[in-house]
Symmetry: C2
Subunit: 91 residues, 2 copies
Amino acid sequence: MKTTPGHRDDVVAILLSGVDGLREAGCDLYVVSVSTTDDVTIWVSEVWQSKEHHAASLQLPETRAAIGKAMPMLTGEFTGQELTVAGGLGV
Amino acid sequence: MKTTPGHRDDVVAILLSGVDGLREAGCDLYVVSVSTTDDVTIWVSEVWQSKEHHAASLQLPETRAAIGKAMPMLTGEFTGQELTVAGGLGV
């Protein structure tokens, strides 16, 4: 996702604010990263126990509040890729 | 990366074959995933302690052997994105 200029760190803080509840919501991995080549691009990589766990997490009041708070600082330019984890280290 | 038809699982197996040595090489996270919408696309998400750790890992004999083994099964179509991790769960 891309933020409006000057708001990347605010959005990163919002994205990281809900980390404590993620594991019990069925999330195995949640990595918030920023571009090394611009000041507005944020990448979030997530691994969930199931599609349903992820979908349910989006309905949680705290998730909805965080999305509402971040939205005005985002350009609306989103890309996403759904994948199936085959294995590795740390997953 | 994309594999030639029918070789995705072979390449996934090669990518996962070196997982045991990754942590001592300075790798914190290594996730091999496959597309849910085609049979030839593989994504690898990695978090390294430093750029230098990653660069050094590419010179290891076992890494070079794995790359040599996988190469004939790849189309050559690679994309990559270098990022800085801001935080999260599992990193």
